[in-house]
């Protein structure tokens, strides 16, 4: 029966739209490229600026300050292992890509989350879009990313942002909505403006939840690293990909292990960032 109905030209429509965008909004894509490229380069440069060992000690110290000595010790050993295996530069590139994707996700995601938190209509429109973004196989994002931004790190960042932004939006929305009704009433009753209410009451109280969302975003961005390397993003993903193509189990394991170490360090670091602030509200 399905054969009797002509196939809907969905693929054609999408291609038309994409080529129109390419032709007419190309300047926008160039502009975005010109923002992302230097950001990634900057983060990489920061991580590569000092001698590796000094950077490792500094990161471990930061971890100690933000959470516990146990995690600091793990960070120290883990990062030294990465350096020893010779993946320091690739790790720096990967971390830079993840950080850039995260920063962009926060800049875009938190305001959208706030909008959803304050407005039911916005939430009802945006929630299905987020579902779509998250259920679509991550590979699919690579195609438009490559078309608009060609090969390299930039489309990798873009694909990571699309894939990893939803948790930040969702949890910001949740955090705003979780602020108890009587606190909102109290804030209104004392004559707060909408923005005073947001910055003095809602955001501070939603902070822990928002941080949980950002933590998830970082993890998702990291999980995109290997996929992004397929379109030419530099870093550990590239090393894994090469190892897979050449069936070098040992090299693949090393690079994979490095990703896991970075994942654990970033996870612990950002997890404790939210909680730590909750415990010490006065600084």
């Amino acid at each position: 029966m399905t054969e009797s109905i002509p196939k809907l030209p969905l693929a054609d429509v999408v291609e038309v739209i994409v080529s129109w965008l390419q032709a007419n909004v190309g300047w926008l894509f160039d502009f975005i490229s010109n923002l992302i490229e230097p950001t990634v380069a900057f983060f990489t440069a920061v991580l590569m600026f000092l001698p590796t060992l000094v950077t490792i000690v500094l990161i471990a110290a930061l971890t100690w300050w933000l959470s516990s000595w146990r995690i600091a010790l793990f960070t120290l050993i883990g990062l030294m292992l990465i350096a020893n295996l010779g993946y320091w530069e690739e790790s720096a590139q990967t971390t830079a890509l993840v950080l850039t994707a995260t920063v962009i996700s926060i800049i875009i995601g938190v305001p959208i989350g706030i909008l959803c938190g304050k407005n039911d209509t916005a939430r009802n429109i945006i929630t299905p879009i987020l579902d779509f973004m998250q259920t679509m196989p991550a590979f699919v994002y690579l195609v438009p990313a490559v078309i608009f931004f060609s090969l390299g790190t930039v489309p990798g960042v873009i694909a990571s942002v699309v894939f990893s932004m939803p948790p930040t939006i969702r949890l910001t929305n949740l955090g705003i909505r979780q602020v108890p009704e009587d606190l909102i009433e109290a804030s209104d009753a004392f004559g707060s403006t909408s923005s005073q209410k947001l910055f003095k009451i809602q955001l501070p109280l939603a902070k822990t939840t928002i941080m949980a969302g950002i933590n998830q975003t970082i993890m998702l961005a990291l999980s995109m690293v290997v996929i992004a390397s397929m379109i030419g993003a530099r870093g550990l993903g590239e090393a894994v990909l090469t190892a897979v193509q050449r069936i070098e189990v040992g090299t693949g394991f090393e690079a994979g292990l490095a990703i896991v170490i970075i994942a654990i360090v970033l996870d612990r670091l950002t997890q404790n960032l939210g909680q730590g602030n909750g415990q010490h509200p006065r600084n």
Binding site: P180, D182, L183, E185, A186, S187, D188, A189, F190, G191, S192, T193, Q196, K200, I201, P204, L205, P281, R282
Partner: protein, 397 residues
């Protein structure tokens, strides 16, 4: 002129508001309207005024609409129809900006569950109202410190709310509301979440603060004892309707309907009635004028065994017993030497509860005297017992 004037204030929750309003005007009940329109009537055509410096209590059980009513006074809930005049300005018609100014300057609110901001210190909570007005930090914190001191929280200003007990948290809530120096204080079940002893302390403190501040207070409660304790006037609500408005005594002694009657059934009368509600006319002799024989004669006439002795200006000197009068005749002594001068005196507004304690310690009747010691009446055991059973109570004029 009244500080707050509420006219036909109505709140309907639901979609068919217009139809529900129409039905309300036709006098249909909350239940019928819910069935016909699916709308819930929160408050039904409330009318009342609150005078400056008055504590006006709105009392009712949960679901009676009292919280909705108080939230319409500062428009945390927008009225469906009707008006709220504050200083003769109809706040149901002001724009957002004016409303914000009124909330900042004129009306503050204290909440049932305290509603303190958990991420802010006691001081920052207290200064919040001034902070949103853009008042410089040192100035607003000075002011906040003053109010914290007023509610007895000096030394706690850098704690977080979660580090304080319930009673102390609500003191912060009160301080936060007072820091703006508003004319009107809305207190929504402010003490209901506190345990009974703390609640009583807070009530006492509110009354004490009020005598110094003279704010206009609208106080919501479901607790009759609380309403009677602190209210100058009480409005009783049921199903969104104000059933009766009156002074505590009017509510108690002259309940408007069966609902109010049932409400006041369990009240502890000894904490409500005052000396002047239970006193009887005192029989007296005037020392400089009347002799012992006159006194004995009057005792015989009235069937009493003792009389109050007063001077010519009706000031209480003591109590004369029948035995002492006889002794005066037998021994020819002046009455002034034989009267018992050590007697219990109470003011007309002394609570029955306090009088009972003093009565237990004396065999003489208790004298009710005005500030200048003039006798206003007498309290005997029989009239106290009568009053406690809820009968034989007269209101003063």
């Amino acid at each position: 002129m009244s500080k707050i004037k509420v006219e036909n204030l109505t709140k309907v929750f639901g979609k068919q508001k217009k139809r529900a309003l129409q039905l309300l005007k036709e006098g249909q009940t909350k239940k019928d309207i819910l069935e016909k329109t699916g709308c819930t009537v929160g408050v039904n055509q409330a009318n009342f005024t609150v005078e400056e410096g008055e504590i006006f209590v709105i009392m009712g059980l949960s679901g009676s609409g009292k919280s909705t009513l108080v939230r319409m006074l500062n428009r945390l809930i927008d009225p469906t129809s009707g008006s709220v005049f504050i200083d003769s300005e109809d706040i149901s018609k002001v724009n957002d900006d004016q409303l914000r100014q009124i909330r900042r300057k004129t009306i503050s609110m204290v909440f049932q569950r305290f509603a303190l901001f958990p991420h802010r210190t006691v001081l920052e909570n207290t200064a919040y109202g001034l902070e949103v007005q853009g008042i410089p930090k040192n100035k607003r914190e000075d002011r906040a410190m003053e109010t914290l001191q007023m509610v007895g929280l000096k030394g706690y200003e850098h704690q977080l709310p979660s580090q304080l007990s319930g009673g102390m948290q609500q003191r912060v809530g009160l301080a936060r509301a007072l820091t703006n120096d508003p004319d009107i204080l809305l207190m929504d079940e402010a003490f209901s979440a506190l345990d009974p002893l703390i609640r009583k302390d807070m009530q006492d403190e509110l009354i004490e603060l009020q005598s110094a501040m003279q704010k206009t207070i609208v106080f919501i409660t479901h607790d009759l004892d609380e309403a009677l304790r602190i209210g100058d006037r009480i409005a009783l609500m049921k199903d969104g309707v104000i059933v009766q408005i009156g002074t505590p005594e009017e509510i108690l002694t002259d309940p408007a309907n069966e609902y109010v009657e049932r409400f006041v059934e369990d009240v502890d009368w000894s904490k409500v009635l005052q000396a002047e509600n239970v006193m009887k006319r005192a029989e007296m002799i005037t020392l400089d004028k009347d002799g012992p024989r006159v006194a004995l004669n009057r005792m015989r006439e009235t069937g009493l065994s003792s009389l109050f002795a007063v001077d010519r200006r009706n000031r209480l000197q003591g109590v004369l017993s029948a035995d002492a009068a006889k002794q005066a005749i037998d021994e020819g002594k002046p009455l002034a030497d034989l009267i018992e001068r050590d007697i219990v005196k109470v003011r007309p507004d002394t609570l029955l509860n306090d009088i009972m304690v003093q009565m237990a310690e004396t065999n003489h009747p208790v004298a009710v005297v005005s500030d200048d010691d003039r006798v206003r009446g007498v309290i005997v055991r029989g009239s106290v017992i009568g009053a406690l059973t809820g009968k034989e109570v007269k209101t003063h004029d």
